[in-house]
Symmetry: C2
Subunit: 437 residues, 2 copies
């Protein structure tokens, strides 16, 4: 295949048949989640109130390869394999010697990578006989993805969306509604924990931690319902590894055997883990030496400024305790335009890999992120999601360094989503009024 | 290639090398445009104030194949070839015997087919030494596409957007701004014709005809500026034929030699002409017998209820007179959610083909359109543009007829764009408040 291709798409028959579970290859063992009541390692039965058995099994699995069910692959075919682009035009715009590639997840039904996990989660829940899913969402990418997936498997879907996003982003609730999902502004009046939070903090902009508490409460009380999480947990990162697995095959098609740098945004960690873990395996096996950098929002810098300790996944302390980098379960981020990058914690798998030195992390302020996003859009034609702008900004730091040094490293950017529904944030940036936080 | 593929994408090397000019194959000659001052057939020099010579030449050309410049193909590679999908999931949802395909233009940088013509228009203007483009836009698809294209060739871009859309769709102006374009609410204070219209009709929601008058006025007064039109004219439809040419190659890859029905939405006619003319050539040459149906909005039914006569392209009578189906240059449509399907006229080429019986037309009310769009989104995962919903609704009429008869025709739908920025219209529909107009 010629080297000057803009994009490698791959055929539907090249959609990976298995997800990659990095737990099997970790040189040091992952700290187990703890039962919040006993502080003992979590047993599968502890999760049965909110998750179906088949997903609990995935969550706790140490199998290296987990088969993607045919019914899931069938829906993946609607948009997968996602394209891997060589960013020739961005390279020209920057006048760089670096070779820039990006894997683009924004062409999925809901405009982000989130559908990679929502589809299998809905499938396994249907298989287990559940008829209803509950979840939280921040900017709305995950909520829309779960509504889409639930609809495909005949499940109903209730979504608690962080209040500040619910109010400022009406397009997202509309998107969820098109796919049959119902969105609530969180904290809401329909849960006990929501009512309590509204009383205690009447003016709160909400947080992912609060929204998770609400969705978990509803799932725990309804035997037909499961809770679905869009990031953080092992099985979510597992599903997202399809991104990195496809990218490896696409680099082979580009005849580009070595990636030098990989930049991906990290909020809860599913996008970062999804694109990076298959490359980390390349590192573990000695085939490549990819330097992986998690790009987080300066407004929620869990990796770069948080503590590595056990903490709750939600505000009300209803979830298991997870060993992770955390800013504290009560953390409420400033309402910056960082989209989904505003979680107080970080996936235990990503936290573990960061702690063990397998990947690096940087925190990016939003003005630098959007400056990179506008530059990217004007060169490549794709307006990236707010979250993805952080990865692009991180990569551009490396690109400029390479240009100064006259080097030509291969740099991969994970562009996790489309910014079509983040356009008000771009307006804020272009007007010069964006706070530099 | 297996028959059960969801999509055929084609490689970048299969982007067509030439556009198809149907003028060369029309059995009866097209009526020429007239100089509005003399009512004599238009001379190329009559257009020199607002278009560069190279585009005037294309506008008047009778050559069958016109080469796509390398610089244009290079930008096309960012998103082309666009995918052709077999809508298996929609077929299942409908329980139909029909075989449904759709060509999807929504993955372009701006979410619609419009970039297919904005890119060559910007290229040819740059080649001719122009530094500024002016244009009109309705819902904003064309304005965003021209801003994107202008930016790629280093041109500035001023866009007059129909007031009702400018006010109700702030995301579109933001999108134009990301690509460096400047949007004005039309009628505006910055043109003489705009000021006159504002005085005469202070509460007007605006119209494409008014916005065209403003953009033409500015282009005519600035020797460095050209006017760009997003539809109607021959050269615009010429550029859009890349859609149908790709689709023909993709049907071959699907091993589907005959298309029985083709449905595409029609406002000014560029999407309809673009996808349909290469199939019309198949009909002219006796290779296929495709029944082509233009789906227009019931709120601007130029083909089904207009008159076939000479009329102006704009409200102020500044453009040449075109022989077309028209509702009258002063027509102001109700502010329905039909997006770009609200023009008073119809491309002379489409009008001619309709008048000669080469294609059919139907008018669709918006509730039927959005009902079809929601059904499509839930089955295929893609939320279609408001305009595209009219084509889907038209096709579903044919699909249901085929199901009743137990027939299995091949039905192609032109899905001209993504509805991500039309989500408020979906909210209106889902709430049950949408007017049935």
């Amino acid at each position: 295949m010629p080297q000057d291709l803009y994009k490698v798409t791959l055929g539907e028959d090249q959609i990976p048949t298995h997800w990659y579970n990095i737990v099997a290859d970790l040189p040091t063992p992952l700290a187990p989640p703890l039962n919040p009541a006993t502080d003992e390692p979590l047993q599968p039965s502890d999760l049965a109130a909110i998750f179906p058995d088949n997903l609990i099994e995935q969550e706790m699995s140490a199998e290296r390869w987990i088969e993607i069910p045919a019914a899931v692959r069938e829906i993946y075919r609607l948009w997968r394999p996602s394209p891997l682009y060589r960013a020739y035009r961005l390279e020209q715009a920057l006048g760089t010697t670096a070779r820039i590639y990006y894997k683009y997840e924004g062409a999925s039904p809901v405009g982000s990578h989130k559908a990679n996990s929502s589809v299998p989660q809905a499938y396994f829940n249907q298989l287990a006989g559940r008829t209803r899913l509950t979840t939280e969402t921040g900017a709305g990418q995950w909520g829309a993805a779960l509504a889409f997936a639930a609809e495909n498997f005949g499940l109903t879907c209730d979504i608690w969306q962080v209040r500040s996003s619910f109010e400022s982003k009406p397009y997202r609730a509309a998107q969820m509604a098109v796919f049959g999902g119902k969105a609530y502004s969180s904290p809401s009046e329909v849960t006990a924990v929501g009512r309590k939070l509204r009383q205690e903090f009447p003016d709160t902009p909400g947080s992912l931690g609060m929204a998770i508490s609400e969705a978990v409460e509803v799932a725990a009380e309804d035997p037909n319902a499961s809770y679905s999480l869009g990031s953080v947990l092992n099985h979510v990162l597992l599903h997202q590894t399809i991104i990195g697995l496809e990218a490896l095959a696409q680099f082979a098609a580009f005849e580009e055997p070595q990636v030098d740098y990989l930049f991906a945004c990290a909020g809860g960690g599913s996008n970062l883990g999804g694109i990076a873990f298959p490359f980390l395996r390349e590192n573990f096996e000695g085939r490549q030496q990819v330097k992986i950098t998690a790009c987080e929002s300066h407004a929620a810098p869990s990796l770069t400024q948080g503590e590595f300790r056990y903490d709750y996944g939600d505000t009300a302390g209803m979830t298991p305790k997870l060993k992770m980098y955390t800013l504290g379960a009560g953390f409420v981020p400033d309402p910056v335009h960082a989209g989904g990058l505003r979680y107080h914690g970080m996936a235990p798998l990503v936290s573990h890999c960061y702690h063990e030195g397998h990947l690096d992390a940087i925190a990016i302020k939003q003005r630098e992120a959007f400056e990179a996003g506008v530059l990217f859009a004007r060169a490549e034609g794709i307006i990236p999601a707010s979250e993805s702008n952080h990865a692009i900004a991180g990569a551009l730091r490396q690109v400029r360094l390479a240009t100064e040094r006259g080097e030509s490293p291969v740099i991969l950017i994970g562009v996790s989503g489309s910014g079509q529904l983040d356009l008000p944030a771009y307006t804020d940036f272009l007007s010069g009024h964006m706070v530099d936080a």
